[in-house]
């Protein structure tokens, strides 16, 4: 029996997983805020646009890591493969998010002339189905976020990954980063109601982080339980300061602390905006670190 570090996927893929999750969750949460909270359209459109941007960059990282990126078109061949579904989700995501965001862009006076150049018919259609597009984008975003976890959890010989806890963890982490990102953006909103949204996001993020911590606890408990590659991976992670202090400390606990403080003690005071920006940024960094180190700690368990 030997345990061998996977040497196949590196930081490029971690970046892809991170940006994919972030982009997916941002649209999902953003659309919800739009539909149910009537959030600042400017901010939401900015969020969706950046989310699309994240997804594009993430995809570029994925492609750049391939031997033959031009052949990526073949990726739609085998429906048994998670990447197949990833491609499907990402494409739907792109279509729906773009369709969804265009009408929203009108809230930016400077973009107005640009948008109005689009054929009226299309614009009208987009307006009409804006809710559906939002829903589609949100669903696709959610699926993309969960797919990133499913993709790597399907490796049978990397027992640390090969568990349903991983997609769960990734999806919660993705939503946490999405919430954090929106939180960041909303602190810049000049709209009236935005502050309430900031508070909601803060609560959401805190809840997500708590859930993430619970999943992590269960996850590591499981990993340490069996003498498999998973234990090897878990101990690698625990011996990695950047994981323990960086991800767990700065990426989860500190933002949670800040958010708790802000929820319970400062009463979401506007003056704590700086703290919120800090918390949000930390969550984002933490999200990346989590993926980076989980990939890094992937250990094959070979039978020799």
């Amino acid at each position: 029996m030997s345990f061998v570090h996977q040497d196949v996927w590196h930081w490029q893929i971690a970046t892809y997983l991170f940006l994919g999750g972030l982009g997916g969750a941002t649209v999902a949460i953003g659309a919800m805020l739009h539909m149910f909270e009537n959030g600042d359209k400017k901010i939401i459109s900015a969020a969706v646009l950046s989310a699309i941007g994240f997804m594009v960059i993430g995809t570029i990282f994925l492609l750049a890591d391939m031997l033959q990126p031009l052949k990526a078109i073949y990726a739609l061949t085998n429906p048994r493969s998670w990447i197949f579904w990833g491609v499907v989700f990402i494409n739907i995501y792109f279509l729906a998010s773009i369709a969804y965001v265009i009408p929203l862009l009108k809230s930016w006076p400077r973009l107005e002339p640009l948008i109005s150049k689009l054929p009226q018919k299309i614009l009208a259609l987009l307006e009409r189905f804006n809710k559906m597009a939002a829903l589609g984008g949100a669903t696709a975003g959610f699926l993309v976020a969960i797919y990133t976890g499913l993709l790597i959890s399907s490796a049978p010989a990397i027992s640390f990954w090969n568990t349903p806890a991983l997609p769960l963890l990734f999806v919660f982490s993705a939503f946490s980063t999405g919430a954090a990102f929106l939180l960041l953006l909303f602190t810049f909103s000049r709209e009236e109601g935005s502050w309430a949204i900031v508070q909601k996001l803060e609560q959401l993020d805190a809840a997500l982080i708590v859930t993430e911590l619970i999943i992590l606890g269960a996850y590591f408990n499981f990993a340490f339980f069996l003498p498999t590659g998973a234990r090897e991976s878990a101990s690698i992670l625990f011996e990695t300061p950047m994981f323990v202090y960086g991800f767990l400390g700065l990426g989860l606990l500190l933002p949670l602390l800040i958010e708790t403080y802000s929820i319970f003690f400062s009463g979401h005071a506007k003056s704590s905006a700086f703290l919120m920006v800090t918390a949000g940024s930390l969550v984002l960094v933490g999200g990346f670190l989590l993926r980076y180190y989980v990939l890094h700690a992937g250990v094959f368990q070979y039978p020799w």
Binding site: V4, Q6, V8, W9, L62, D65, M66, L67, Q68, P69, L70, K71, A72, Y74, A75, L76, T77, N78, R80, S81, W82, I83, F84, V87, L151, I152, S154, A155, P156, A157, I158, G298, F300, Q301, Y302, P303, W304
Partner: protein
């Protein structure tokens, strides 16, 4: 239609690595970068004086339930009628999903760097020019000509036994059926077609 498989008789393998050399020459694998389709593990068990040295030759297990094939989005990884798991070099986009999915470390990237060295080494005889992920093909090209795979053909101790698992006359059938030869990590459910007789 056959169902090809291999039995590794670990009682016989002497760790001479002729199989690796043969495979590399046969299939033009980028040995210069240390990449091989087959490996021979040199394993030490126990402590002196109760120590046992064991050689474990390994290659693609041509799994019946094929995680690499499931993972491959492009269909580049496919199964032939004879149950051989192969890679269509023209389709492979090199996304490594298969490498991550393979529980037996059977795959490696044949990258641009390898191709350019291979071009100088083999000239117009180079058999694959596009980068792709590569692995053992069970030497299908030889098998179709009625030859043993390169590695099994040269193995000085006949530690590698190749044949049709469905043919009741074949040695591989007998060894795998009687349970004398067992697959690696059966609990993964991959149903490998490479079996091991322990030493």
């Amino acid at each position: 239609m056959a169902r090809y498989g291999m039995v590794m008789d670990m009682r016989l393998c002497v760790g001479c690595q002729a199989c690796m050399a043969a495979c590399s020459m046969e299939n033009q694998t980028p040995y210069w970068n240390g990449k091989f389709r087959t490996h021979v593990e040199d394993i030490e068990h126990g402590s002196y004086p109760d120590v046992r040295r064991e050689f474990l030759p390994r290659l693609c297990m041509h799994c019946e339930n094929t995680p690499c094939l499931s993972a491959c989005p492009s269909g580049a990884t496919y199964k032939t009628e004879d149950g051989i798991i192969r890679i269509n070099y023209d389709r492979c986009m090199g996304c490594y999903a298969c490498s991550i999915a393979c529980p037996y470390d059977a795959r490696y990237p044949y990258d641009r760097n390898d191709v350019s060295t291979a071009e100088t080494l083999y000239g117009d005889d180079l058999s694959h020019r596009a980068p792709h992920v590569d692995k053992c093909s069970f030497c299908e090209h030889r098998v179709q000509e009625g030859l043993k795979p390169g590695c099994a053909g040269t193995c000085p101790t006949n530690a590698r036994i190749f044949g049709d698992l469905d043919d009741p006359q074949s040695e591989v059938h007998k060894l795998s059926k009687t349970g004398k030869a067992k697959p690696l990590r059966p609990e993964l459910g991959t149903a490998p077609k490479v079996f091991y007789i322990p030493s």
